[in-house]
Symmetry: C2
Subunit: 264 residues, 2 copies
């Protein structure tokens, strides 16, 4: 067992050049191997603070984190969640300061990579490409979130998040066991989606009552992935025209009765 990294290390941006990983020996030039320091975090710890100089980036080994952005006027909002393999504090456009805070959602471990190392690595085309791809991915994510918050109804937003979390989980742990652990609170989810925690709680209950998911506290299992997807995908957000008699398609309408409140 040469690779002593956590399971998700193989997804880390730095994995190919990480001295702690066996693969590095083969692919990385001798001089560029990293021996990152490791840090342990407790739930709630700040990994990076918004506005502070960006001196270090922190690949997440285990645990999870949230990004929190505070607008110039003091509005605060969760802008994303991070799972092992993600890089906390990685700023796009070579920003000299962190654009958002990163906060551990649970006891977690991170590596600490100085930005100088990062800058040197960026000189290597292969690494550079990978790093830029990660940043683009993050940017795209934020845009999807913007559209979700700006145009979609609450059930769709939540369905989107659940599917996204499941997808990320699958990307890491291989097979999708469809069982997630929500490391974030309802309030965090609500902030991300532009809702209130009560609404999130209610929707989760409603999803569960219709058999889409099973949820108990922070343990969640996706039962009907396709159902969630149909809620998410539903353009026009489950709009309810007066439902004239003989309305074609009324007898179908898969699971997106979700958007219509409790079954009367």
């Amino acid at each position: 067992m040469p690779d002593q990294g956590a399971p998700a290390c193989s997804l880390c941006l730095f994995h190919p050049v990480c001295g702690a990983a066996a693969t590095a020996a083969a692919t990385a030039p001798a001089g560029t191997r990293l021996r990152p320091e490791r840090l342990s975090l407790r739930a709630g710890d700040y990994v990076v603070r918004q506005g502070r100089p960006a001196l270090t980036v922190y690949p997440l080994r285990t645990g999870s984190a949230k990004q929190v952005y505070e607008s110039p006027l003091g509005w605060r909002q969760v802008t994303g969640f991070s799972l092992p393999g993600d890089v906390l504090g990685l700023e796009p456009h070579e920003a000299p300061q962190h654009g958002a805070a990163a906060i551990a959602l649970q006891d977690s471990e991170v590596c600490a990579v100085p930005v100088e190392s990062l800058r040197e690595l960026m000189a290597a085309p292969a690494f550079r490409i990978a790093a830029l791809a990660v940043m683009r991915r993050n940017a795209e994510r934020e845009r999807v979130l913007l559209v979700a918050v700006g145009s979609m109804k609450a059930p769709q937003r939540l369905a989107m998040l659940l599917l996204d979390l499941a997808g990320e989980q699958a990307r890491r742990h291989g097979r999708q066991d469809s069982t997630l652990t929500l490391a974030m609170s309802r309030a965090d989810i609500a902030s991300l989606l532009g809702l209130t925690l009560e609404t999130v709680s209610r929707l989760l209950s409603r999803f569960a009552s219709v058999g889409l998911i099973a949820v108990r506290q922070r343990r969640l299992r996706i039962i009907d992935s396709a159902g969630l997807a149909s809620i998410y995908a539903d353009l026009d957000g489950g709009a309810q025209r007066p439902a004239r008699e003989g309305d074609p398609g009324a007898e179908f309408a898969p699971a997106m009765a979700m958007c219509r409140g409790p079954a009367s």
Copy 2:
């Protein structure tokens, strides 16, 4: 009159190296001067299309444009407006494809700069810094928008936009004459802010009726800039607790009665 550029050319990212500008002779190395081709656009023309290869960037000389992002599932949303001096189609993270469409809001003029030229220019530290700053600015803008759409009430969002437009206008035309021309339709504004066009129209009317602005069609004048700012800045979105008797501050509450609907 050596500088033949449009007034806003001096704000263009490429101005220091633009062969059409007199200043370029002084600051730019001989080999890197640009002679960008100019294009004329009609209202509604696509400058760049989302997903198409990013081969050219288009500094906006005159007119205005909107960015429209379409999510993977087909949700479409305006993500920003551009004014002269902005660069259309400029993709962050060296993205090979355009991440959003840019559409002229009125008859406009743009320059066409090949990405190869851009790439060469990025080698020069001064230009690189400026370009990265522009991209960071754009990213920050999007995040502010995300928070606005996610957490703020409709009147705040609109006040924010008006102040922003006024600020951008002032940054270009020097003194703020406080008179803007809204090149975008109500529907575009609504899409940007995550509202409907009716709500935007109503709010504009309401703002006007309270003396914050004067608006007739697409001609708008800001009368009480501070009043708009107080609406925008109001944390907790003008929440109305039951207003107990003797509630301190009730007799104040500047212009943010806006958030409470028509004066009863």
